[in-house]
């Protein structure tokens, strides 16, 4: 296989070229295919902390490259890489002891209605508790099933479903119109402090 055919090669063929020949072109192709997706995922899980996301993504790719020879291809490369990145994110969360923090103003949707819905939604996701945020991002945005999420996060599929239910409810609460938020605190407000 030559680099001119790299775009046609499967992830596995590219990985084999990296493992067997140390092919830089193959690694670059793998990186180009998946780096954007995993970086966006990590940035979103970290609530927009891009600098931290860079470090995590670097470490995740490094672990992936070093572990390619041992990868059994029982899942897709993307799923495997996502799992590595998620482990890094969870380690980061534990070390930083962060609880649903995000560098965003309070009640962004209510105070800045001129900002589009997309930014409102990103801000609301960033303010979710980490566990609920991870499940919502993986399920609703990345498209993983509850079984896959259970394996990725080391939780039961049922736990993933309940986390998703909770995440959506919190999102709806955060994104409700300003006049609705003025009516008083959400009945589930105390649970926002938990993950």
């Amino acid at each position: 296989m030559t680099r001119f055919r790299a775009a046609e090669a499967s992830d596995r063929e590219l990985a084999d070229a990296v493992v067997n020949g140390g092919a830089e072109w193959a690694f670059r192709e793998l990186y180009q295919r998946h780096a954007g997706r995993v970086f966006q995922l990590v940035v979103r899980l970290l609530g927009g902390a891009e600098a931290d996301a860079q470090e995590i993504v670097q470490e995740a790719w490094l672990d992936a490259a070093e572990g390619l020879a041992g990868f059994r291809w029982q899942s897709s490369f993307r799923t495997w890489l996502t799992a590595i990145a998620l482990n890094k994110v969870r380690t980061f969360w534990r070390q930083a002891d962060r609880t649903a923090t995000a560098p965003l103003p309070e009640d962004l949707a209510a105070t800045t209605p001129s900002i589009g819905l997309r930014l409102d939604l990103e801000a609301a996701i960033a303010r979710l508790p980490e566990g609920a945020r991870a499940v919502l991002v993986l399920h609703d945005i990345e498209g993983f099933t509850h079984d896959e999420i259970g394996r990725l996060l080391g939780i039961a599929a049922g736990t993933s479903k309940s986390q998703l239910f909770d995440a959506r409810r919190r999102l709806r609460h955060q994104l409700r119109p300003a006049d609705a938020s003025a009516r008083g605190p959400h009945p589930c407000e105390p649970c926002l402090k938990t993950s």
Partner: protein, 183 residues
């Protein structure tokens, strides 16, 4: 899974989520750091140096050709050296043999000259016998040296044969002595 009214996304919510970006290009520095680190750890080879099976085959073929070329050159040089050494040895042998022929021939001529002087001085047959033997030995030696250089030299072979069959000279056989001397 619990089935609650809130459990499914509305079409508007689904559209809003689908509108979120799915990818974000990492800064170029991330890729550069990765490539540098992977090269440092020898997981990646420099661009253009990776060895595909075709490249391995080409490298192997080139190696075989290089080896065969070296072997042929070595054989040729060795053969040339052998030939040159052979020529040198042959030339040296020829020079040595020619010198030997010249030396033995000179010894024969000197022996014949001394024998002639003895005859002219009126020496008896018995007195001439040692000179005759010396001249005969010198002649045989010269003939044998000549045969070693040119085995096809018929006259030299005849001389050697005659010398080997010659009966020791006696004082009653002056003819034989003369024949030997004038040969």
């Amino acid at each position: 899974m619990r089935t609650l009214p809130e459990d499914e996304l509305t079409s508007e919510e689904r559209a809003a989520i689908d509108a979120l970006p799915k990818e974000r290009t990492p800064p170029r520095a991330v890729e550069q750091w990765l490539l540098r680190t992977l090269h440092d750890r020898r997981i990646l080879q420099p661009a253009g140096r990776s060895m595909t099976p075709l490249k391995w085959l080409g490298a192997f073929a080139a190696g075989v050709l290089l080896f065969a070329g070296g072997l042929s050159a070595g054989e040729l040089l060795h053969a040339r050296a052998d030939a040159r050494a052979g020529r040198l040895m042959s030339l040296e042998d020829s020079r040595r043999l020619a010198a030997a022929v010249q030396r033995t021939g000179s010894e024969y001529v000197a022996a014949v000259a001394r024998l002639r002087e003895s005859v002219e001085a009126g020496a008896s047959v018995d007195q001439l016998a040692p000179g005759r033997e010396a001249a005969l030995a010198a002649l045989e030696a010269a003939a044998r040296e000549l045969l070693s250089i040119a085995p096809e030299a018929g006259r030299a072979a005849d001389i050697v044969a005659d010398v080997e069959t010659v009966v020791p000279a006696s004082e009653n056989d002056p003819v034989r002595l003369r024949r030997v001397i004038w040969f």
